[in-house]
């Protein structure tokens, strides 16, 4: 679990050296066609799988749009970011500590309700999120109609419908991403409220933790995780704010090689 964890940050540090104008994380549940979106955007030779937890290795790829080079990092498919597994931890750490310029969350249009769980968890961490509602062709076949403008209004982030297998909507996704990253489109994501007891406790912890985070990480989110007793996060935060990474550099480069052979 740990080595993969270290790997995330290493992939990151490598990414920063690349000549790329923005690093974008690609998150999503398993079976949402996330890898198809990834391949559709980057044109990279990378295998798409159909079973949960298939993309364990982080894969990355580039594409150029309006003279900007965008690096896309395909995170493991997960149902949540609550760090129940190595996959979830990797995905969470990348979104939280990897400073991606934006995070695209890919969801399955035929199963929106369950998929939105991850979306809410992502916008809890970062306001720079874009929702890609994939498999709209499947949804149509099943007689499911989604009110996209309304969804966008409710979530407060851009929503792009796609059918990535047929490259439908990918251009709109690129454009939407461009606006968020380079034209600094202001997003006001839905703020997720919890029961009173939790809100009270979170407010106290948030106040105390605020100075330590130096504005680098969302303090409300950290407070929620600490209240939840998530210990996997603590060392990570300490390393992140003090600017020292994990010690094993070699592990990281191995991890990157692993990425290479799947490309």
């Amino acid at each position: 679990m740990n080595c993969q964890h270290v790997g995330t940050l290493k992939v990151l540090s490598k990414l920063n050296q690349d000549k790329s104008d923005a690093v974008i994380a690609l998150a999503g549940n398993p079976n949402t066609g996330k890898s198809t979106v990834f391949n559709g955007l980057t044109g990279l030779k990378q295998h798409t799988g159909n079973w949960p937890g298939k993309t364990v290795v982080l894969a990355k790829g580039n594409y150029r749009y309006r003279n900007k080079i965008i690096t896309l990092v395909d995170l493991p498919g997960t149902y949540s970011l609550l760090a129940n597994s190595a996959d979830e931890q990797v995905a969470r750490d990348f979104i939280c500590f990897g400073n991606p310029e934006a995070t695209i969350v890919v969801v399955d249009a035929t199963c929106l309700e369950r998929n939105l769980n991850l979306v809410l968890q992502v916008i809890e961490i970062t306001p720079r999120a874009i929702l890609c509602v994939n498999l709209i062709d499947e949804a149509k076949r099943k007689g499911i109609v989604i009110d996209f403008p309304k969804l966008e209004a409710l979530l407060g982030i851009p929503v792009v419908p796609t059918a990535a297998r047929d490259k439908v909507g990918l251009a709109a996704l690129k454009e939407s991403l461009h606006q968020v990253v380079f034209e600094h489109k202001q997003l006001q994501p839905l703020s997720i409220r919890y029961q009173e007891r939790i809100e009270v406790a979170v407010a106290t912890i948030q106040r105390e933790i605020e100075p330590f985070l130096r504005g680098k990480i969302n303090s409300r989110w950290v407070a929620l995780r600490l209240l939840d007793g998530d210990t996997t996060l603590i060392t990570e935060i300490l390393n992140y704010i003090s600017g020292t990474g994990p010690d094993s550099w070699e592990q990281g480069s191995n991890e990157l090689k692993a990425v290479k052979c799947y490309e």
Partner: protein
């Protein structure tokens, strides 16, 4: 530890106390999140009309009590049959092409006046071994991997796991192990990597240690050739259908051994309670054929092939040296084969077969060519021009149906190839488990072959 860090830890402790006071925090968080997703979905998603749920209908058939298992077996047989019969002709073509190019290389060496030993090591050793591996491996893999990827992308494989989970539960293993085994048919190293989808470390190790009991593409040619020879020795005829049937039988035996060893492992070395099993049965999706072909050929077929060629090349050189350096009247291979003869006989095999498996450690594909080379006492690997030729050669070297049968069993059960072992080392980060991953199958192979041989001999069948 810095002062700041101490303060931070203080807050962490404080938060934990607060969390304990609030009650089950995680439950509440998840509940609230789902309450909000439910609300959003209610406002945004509409269902028009009542469309037929095709997935439900397909699953009624695919996971049914009566059709579920027969369908899996039929699909397995179909894939193996397509792979076997489809690969024949292109294999022959490739082999002619590559070996033909080999003779040009020989001519080039002569023209350059290269010393014999250099020509031997490079052309007869390294090149021929590579040529062999490519022509034997590439066509079946180029057929198998697209078919496999098709079932994978269609969403059928999780259904297989669903159908077979009961057996794996009894064995103390995880249903998703089935998915890693399916991958193992293509390549055991890939199968071992696929074990990552099993989250519990205990069950992942069980899957890793037993993946080898599904024969990979590299072993199929051996199994098929041996099945044909076994059948013609026993019943006098071997058509494609019978051969496929026998190979499927051997594969099913491998699956039973997997379950048995998984069970033994989970009761001994890897004791523990089966961890949570949750398996999603995703909606069926018709794959995009173009992408599927490109992906499976580039990412899987060529990936595995390149890896096999890289190990086969040096192995080819070493084998040539062993076959061409003489101590007294006999080559090193001859000496080693003689040395292993007694042990081989106990297992219903012979010394040369054991040696071929040992030298075939880098890649299972080269076992048969090494064996032929040893029997012919020629210093170079040659390929038999037909199954009939191979049969005659083997009978002349004392083979019976028992030898063919045990060769199949040994090939099915023995130690994983070097690439797979290296992958296991990388995945488990442990030398101990890597060694066990080699020892356990070898032990099983020796035991099974020994029992079969003794039984057959005791009953006077041979």
């Amino acid at each position: 530890m810095s002062n700041e860090e101490n303060c931070f830890q203080g807050i962490v402790a404080q938060a934990q106390t607060a969390g304990a006071e609030v009650g089950p925090v995680r439950d509440q968080l998840v509940l609230d999140l789902y309450r909000q997703t439910q609300e959003i979905a209610r406002q945004v998603v509409k269902r028009q009309g009542k469309k037929e749920d095709f997935d439900h209908k397909i699953d009624d058939f695919v996971t049914s009590k009566y059709f579920g298992y027969p369908l899996m077996l039929t699909l397995l047989s179909l894939i193996l049959w397509l792979t076997v019969s489809g690969a024949n002709y292109p294999s022959q073509l490739l082999s002619n092409l590559l070996f033909g190019f080999g003779s040009h290389l020989t001519a080039l060496c002569q023209w350059l006046k290269a010393p014999d030993w250099l020509h031997g090591i490079l052309v007869l050793g390294l090149y021929r071994c590579m040529a062999w591996v490519i022509s034997v491996m590439l066509p079946p893999m180029a057929i198998f991997f697209p078919l496999f990827t098709f079932l994978e992308e269609l969403g059928y494989l999780p259904r297989v796991a669903f159908n077979l989970d009961r057996g794996f539960k009894r064995a103390g293993a995880h249903g998703k192990q089935v998915l890693t085994m399916c991958m193992g048919f293509g390549c055991n190293a890939a199968g071992v990597t696929a074990c990552r989808i099993i989250e519990s470390p205990r069950e992942r190790l069980i899957a890793t240690l037993t993946n080898n009991f599904v024969p990979c593409n590299g072993r199929f040619p051996t199994l098929i050739a041996m099945a044909a020879i076994f059948l013609s020795a026993l019943v006098g005829t071997a058509n494609n259908l019978l051969t496929t049937g026998l190979v499927v039988g051997v594969v099913v035996f491998g699956i039973l051994v997997t379950l048995l060893i998984s069970r033994l492992l989970s009761q001994t070395l890897l004791k523990g309670v089966p961890s949570t099993f949750t398996l999603e049965l995703p909606p069926y999706r018709w794959p995009k054929m173009g992408t599927l072909l490109i992906r499976s050929v580039l990412d899987r077929t060529l990936f595995v092939l390149v890896r096999a060629v890289v190990v086969a090349a040096p192995a080819g050189m070493i084998i040539w040296i062993l076959a061409n350096v003489y101590i007294g009247e006999v080559s090193i291979i001859g000496h080693l084969g003689g040395f292993l003869q007694g042990f081989g006989y106990l297992l219903g095999l012979d010394g040369y077969i054991i040696l071929a498996f040992l030298l075939g450690l880098p890649a299972n594909e080269i076992v048969i060519p090494i064996l032929i080379m040893s029997y012919l006492s020629e210093g170079v690997m040659v390929e038999p021009s037909s199954i009939e030729d191979l049969h005659r050669l083997l009978v002349a070297n004392g083979w019976t149906w028992l030898t063919a049968l045990n060769m199949m069993l040994f090939s099915l059960l023995h130690f994983p190839c070097a690439t797979t072992l290296l992958t296991i080392r990388k995945e488990t980060q442990s030398l101990k488990w890597t060694v066990l991953a080699a020892l356990i199958p070898t032990g099983v192979a020796i035991l099974v072959c020994f029992l079969v041989a003794q039984l057959a001999r005791a009953c006077g069948l041979v």
